[in-house]
Amino acid sequence: MTPTLLVIEDNEQNLYLMRYLLEKSGFSVVAAPDGQRGIDLASRVRPDLILLDIQLPLMDGYAVAAAIRRDPALAATPIIAVTSYAMPGDREKCLEAGATDYMEKPIDPSALVERVRRHLGIAEAQG
């Protein structure tokens, strides 16, 4: 079965980039443009992995990660935080909020796909 990924990203072009890259890499992608819709979608769809932008309007990524972790059904779902802050302590803050992993923007397409596969336990050769 094709793994379903949830991408929470407010920038249209970046979202397009992610969706294109991940769908081309064989994943099914659902997307939300802000935190609240991302949380709702996550509980409804129960994705296999979540890519979460930290710099979101209204509700930031830390709060979104924490809210997702409060849903018992999503307690073990891998969350990869993606941030362009690149400030000291960002990584720790993301992991504290409940993220499983952390990547800095700009992302390298092949590195992203490789990271997603690793968290899903899929061998690279499959792609």
């Binding site: 920038n11 072009q13 970046n14 980039l17 294109y20 890259l21 081309k24 710099q55 362009s84 802050y85 690149a86 400030m87 000291p88 302590g89 720790e92 923007k105 700009p106 992302i107 390298d108 397409p109 092949s110």
Partner: protein, 739 residues
């Protein structure tokens, strides 16, 4: 010896020599029998001796009469009768001497009286003869008993047989026996008198309330009164007669000389030996503490000892009298202490009074001076000085305040401050009328205050006031003393400062927000550019031709350079603003070094350069900011690759004490010595200007050095132009931080 009175026949003197010798022997025995006899032994001895004499002389009765009451009466005190002869002594008591004139007259004159035949008793005979005849006496010999020239009585011998003449020798020797008896009796009587005197002495001593004892010449205790029994617990019967310092034992627990034994010492000897003993005449005095007394609590004793003499002035003993003065000494001590305290208090008070007197005089003088100074000071001080009454009316205003506010004394004294120098309402809206009302009533609540004031011309000023209550003579609140300083300028400055500070803070917040926004906003489009370039180059949307591939590669390269530039500019801005923060967390420095080396390896190999890394075992886990350490290492390694055309790069990492030293050595173009310091300045690049051939922001080394310093380390450079460079990163790595 006067001639003997002889009645009747003359005395014969034809006695044989043998008889005389025997008589002599008897008398000697009689005399020696009295030697060493005590008073109690005298009477039996006399009676025995009377028997010896009677037997020797062949008489039937031997007896002694003693005179008394001035020789007016006499008693038969001793008598010996031969067997069968009736004793007469009980009947011969208290005889009137005058009734026996024939007998006694001679005796009293010291003569022996002998009557060989009583029947020839001279006339007038009277009761004397009747008495003698009644005894059946035929012949009598009476000899006087003389002692010290006094006739004490007489010794008599009665013969109941035929009258016999008394031989001269017998009479003489009987006289001698009489004298011996007289001596003994006299001594006995004296002893008896002494015993009575001793008894009297004892009764007197018993009466003494003070413990007292008497010793004789041999230092035997002869008297020990009730008081000393009570003090020592030693009974009289236990100690009387004891010698060898027995009296010292109850006091000192041993036999030793005490006060009474010091009587014979010379004054000089006494004073030299005994500190507490004094002499006054024959007496010695002492005072000492005896621990054994009072049931072990001890007692202070005062004692006096005196020698005792008889009427002839011979020393026969000594007396010591003791008094327990413990209470007295205690009281004296208390009294002395009290006296001393009292004295001290008096002295203190005297001193205090003197001091007070001096102080008061000084105080009066200084008060006078200070009042004068105070007036001058208050009037001319460069401070506003006012006095208000409790209703807020001005009662005093100094010259400075008059000048400051523009009011003359006559214009303002007696008027309320409100409406003159205090506006009804402060610019800020505070009701100063009510404030002044409260100040007048409770000045203690407003030790300091700041409020707006107004000058006569209407100019508003700010004054900082110090307020003190003033009290009247009965302690009642009388008003307020107010001292003020013009702080108008200060208030204005403060307001400007607050505004400036608010502006600065706001600018700072804006700057922070700007940095964060820039970081995000610049990266987001770059993310898309780099991402899509990557996708295109990967051929995901479809294959690219060679030219498209080359051009997309250039886009990606430029985009990455732009990202580096943005990152460096943001870093340097943060550093300049002092906003750069470094993390402090444990990380594996070895991994960081190897990761950085791996990152630049493709670039080095692409240029045909070797890249060697030698990380010694001492380099391991430490504490710091892993990302920033990696950033610095990457910068140094990238520079090395960038400026080296041939040869290669060697990285050596080793622990030196509590620091880790990482040296990056290259075989590149090197740096000229005059440029070595400049390369750490922002935006500096060798071969500067528009013609430079190396890409880069020129910020890398500057950022690296600042980051290293921020982490407590350093970045230094050594180089010779054309011979390569060594850049050294030193980081603190406490030995304990290693895992």
């Amino acid at each position: 010896v006067p001639g003997d009175a002889v009645m009747g026949e003359p005395v014969t003197d034809g006695a044989s020599l043998k008889y005389r010798l025997d008589l002599e022997e008897v008398i000697t025995e009689i005399l020696t029998g009295f030697i060493g006899r005590s008073a109690e032994e005298v009477d039996p001895e006399i009676e025995r001796a009377l028997g010896d004499i009677a037997r020797f002389t062949g008489t039937d009765r031997a007896y002694i009469f003693l005179f008394r009451e001035g020789q007016t009466l006499m008693d038969c005190t001793h008598e010996w009768c031969s067997p069968g002869v009736e004793p007469r002594a009980p009947a011969l008591q208290a005889l009137t001497v005058a009734e026996y004139p024939n007998v006694v007259e001679g005796i009293l004159r010291g003569r022996a009286v002998h009557m060989p035949d009583v029947s020839a008793y001279p006339s007038p005979a009277g009761p004397e003869k009747d008495e003698v005849l009644a005894r059946g006496v035929r012949s009598i010999l009476l000899v006087p008993m003389i002692c010290g020239g006094a006739v004490l009585g007489f010794l008599g011998l009665d013969s109941l047989r035929d009258p016999a003449p008394w031989e001269k020798e017998v009479i003489g020797l009987v006289r001698r026996a009489g004298e011996a008896f007289a001596n003994s009796l006299k001594r006995k009587r004296r002893d008896e008198e002494q015993w009575v005197a001793y008894k009297r002495l004892l009764s007197v001593i018993e009466f003494f309330p003070d413990p007292t004892f008497i010793i004789d010449r041999e230092k035997r205790v002869i008297a020990w009164n009730q008081a000393i029994e009570a003090m020592t617990g030693v009974r009289r019967a236990e100690i009387v007669g004891q010698g060898d310092y027995a009296y010292a034992v109850p006091f000192f627990g041993e036999r030793r000389p005490i006060l009474v034994d010091l009587l014979d010492l010379s004054t000089a000897e006494l004073e030299a030996t005994y500190k507490y003993v004094t002499r006054a005449g024959a007496n010695v005095y002492a005072e000492s503490f005896i621990p054994a007394l009072n049931g072990g609590r001890g007692a202070h004793l005062w004692g006096v000892a005196a020698p005792l003499f008889d009427e002839a002035g011979n020393r026969w003993g000594a007396i010591e009298c003791i008094r327990d003065v413990t209470d007295r000494i205690r009281m004296e001590k208390e009294l002395r202490t009290l006296n001393a305290e009292l004295e001290e208090r008096v002295q203190e008070r005297t001193k205090a009074l003197e001091r007070e007197f001096v102080e008061r005089r000084l105080a009066e003088e200084s008060l006078r001076l200070s009042e004068q100074k105070y007036r001058e000071l208050v009037q001319s001080a460069n401070s506003i000085i006012l006095k208000l009454d409790t209703a807020g009316r001005v009662t005093f205003i100094n010259e400075f305040a008059q000048g400051f506010f523009g009011y003359g004394e006559e214009e303002i004294l007696g008027r309320s401050v409100v409406g003159t120098i205090v506006p009804e309402v402060e610019t800020g809206g505070r009701d100063l009328g009510r404030f002044i009302e409260d100040l007048g009533r409770h000045p203690e609540r407003y030790a300091r205050n700041e409020n707006e004031n107004v000058k006569k011309g209407g100019e508003r000023v700010w004054i900082s006031w110090t307020n003190k209550p003033i009290f009247g003579p009965a302690g009642e609140l009388a008003g307020v003393l107010c001292v003020g300083n013009d702080i108008t300028e200060l208030i204005l400055l403060e307001r400007q400062l607050v505004r400036a500070k608010e502006a600065a803070e706001s600018a700072d917040r804006l700057k922070s927000a700007f940095l964060a926004t820039m970081s995000h906003e610049l990266r987001t489009p770059l993310n898309a550019i780099i991402g899509f370039t990557g996708i295109l180059l990967q051929g995901l949307p479809g294959p690219l031709n060679e030219e498209q591939q080359k051009q997309m590669g250039m886009v990606r390269h430029s985009a990455r350079r732009l990202l580096e530039l943005i990152t460096d500019v943001l870093d340097i801005s943060k550093i300049e603003a002092g906003r750069l923060e470094v993390a402090r967390a444990p990380f594996d420095l070895r991994q960081s070094v190897l990761k950085a080396v791996q990152t630049v390896r493709p670039a080095a190999e692409g240029k045909g350069l070797y890249l060697r890394a030698d990380v010694r075992p001492g380099v391991g886990t430490t504490t710091g900011d892993a990302r920033r350490v990696e950033q610095v290492l990457l910068n140094l390694l990238n520079n090395a690759v960038k400026f080296t055309q041939a040869g290669g790069i060697t990285l050596e990492a080793d622990r030196k004490g509590d620091r880790v030293v990482i040296a990056v050595r290259d075989t590149g173009i090197g740096v000229r010595s005059e440029e070595l310091q400049k390369i750490f300045e922002p935006f500096y690049q060798c071969d500067g200007g528009l013609t430079r051939k190396h890409e880069g922001t020129g910020l890398g080394l500057s950022i690296s050095r600042k980051l290293a310093q921020k982490m407590g380390g350093s970045v230094t450079a050594e180089s010779r132009s054309g011979e390569g460079s060594t850049f050294t990163l030193v980081l603190p790595a406490p030995a304990g931080g290693e895992g």
